[in-house]
């Protein structure tokens, strides 16, 4: 076993130099400025989606504007305007429903990434025996 311990240390020393020191550039101090160009900070992969609430507000605003416009029309157009406002409200409700569904689908899709199961973490390593 003593010989094996020596082998373990010998090999570890080799890996320390060739993998860790070389990979992490440990011969140079981290984050010390130098000539390295400033790295670009990572931006989110997708623009932040509008929240469900914001989308609902948008729909309500559209409906309100249409309702206000209808109120300005002459008395003889009142029935027609009411019908239009009613339709706009219905459209807004439908749009909200669609937006809600899309947001729910997107959220579900964001959680569904390709991953396997397993109830305990399993490292890889190289199986020896």
């Amino acid at each position: 076993m003593t010989k094996h311990r020596e082998l373990a240390s010998l090999v570890s020393n080799k890996i320390w130099r060739t993998v860790v020191v070389a990979g992490a550039m440990l011969a140079t101090a981290p984050a010390c400025g130098g000539n390295k160009p400033a790295p670009v900070a990572p931006a989110p992969a997708d623009p932040a989606p509008k929240s469900v609430e914001a989308q609902a507000d948008d729909g309500k605003k559209a409906a309100d504007e249409q309702a206000a416009a209808a109120a300005k029309t002459a008395e003889d157009a009142r029935l027609l305007a009411e019908q239009e406002a009613d339709k706009a409200a219905k459209d807004a409700a439908a749009a909200k429903e669609a937006a809600d569904k899309k947001a729910a689908d997107d959220a579900a899709a964001a959680k569904k990434r390709p991953r396997g199961g397993g109830d305990r973490p399993t490292g890889r390593g190289f199986i020896l025996s």
Binding site: G116, R124, S129
Partner: protein, 299 residues
Amino acid sequence: MTDDLDLLGDVDPQGRDEHYEPTSPWWLSGTPLEAEHHRLMRRRSVPIPWDQSGVAKLTDAERARLAGTWTRRSEAEYLAISTFSVLAIDLVAAMAPADVISLCLRAGIDEIRHAEMCLRMIEIYSPPGAVKPMPKPGMSSLPDDPDRPKLHQALANTMLVSCVSETYATTVLSATRDLTTDPTAQAVLTSIYSDEVMHARLGWSYMRHAIEIGGQGVIDAAAAMLPRALRGVANVVERERPEGAVTEAVRGHGLMTPQEERVIYSTCVREVLVPGFAALGIPVGSALEDYGDAWAHAA
């Protein structure tokens, strides 16, 4: 670069295997994609002398023992294909540098080649007339938390896969190679090992880069992942082994005892992983105590 040459000896990391032959035709699609696949597989840095295996000198029990281990190895290599694929998704999401992403994707291809070589070793060692062990396909279970910053997830999973698992794989493969005398097994282990060096180094490089751009948040994410990553490899080392004795002849074909593996892992934690993370400013918690002498000699 000098270290590379020391470590890899006469292995040319970008070399091609002019003696390449398809190793598992039954695992191919039967379409024109096969030709391009073979071109990728030919990027094997070590020629494998398949016909020089000393398998004929082994008993059936020894062959079965080796076939059992190569089955486990093929499962681990197959699992690593999806591990690097999923890690690549995390790296892309975090807008990792192009060289990190390309090496990660290439690592996935390397793992296909490793799995193929392991399958061929199962065929070589399975005793004549015996039912060949069937590898169980596995799928990566890398942690996924869509709510955390993408840089933190990419970094933490890179630590798990590359800095810890692949660095240990490199260490244990190097030690195993040293006691392997069979020419075919030696070449297969060397071939896998020469790829693993880069799989491991990619993690340490990305860790350095991520700390430089992400600062304390990245260090905290790495520190939180460390115990989980170390335990993950320990679970593999502690696992039950296939039935059968590890005789001297079996050792010559590239097997260690579980006791010896524990010493390698414990030494790797103490002399490679902990100093590496500490040098990058990552707190290592109780890693040294958890995998110290008591753990190394518990089996």
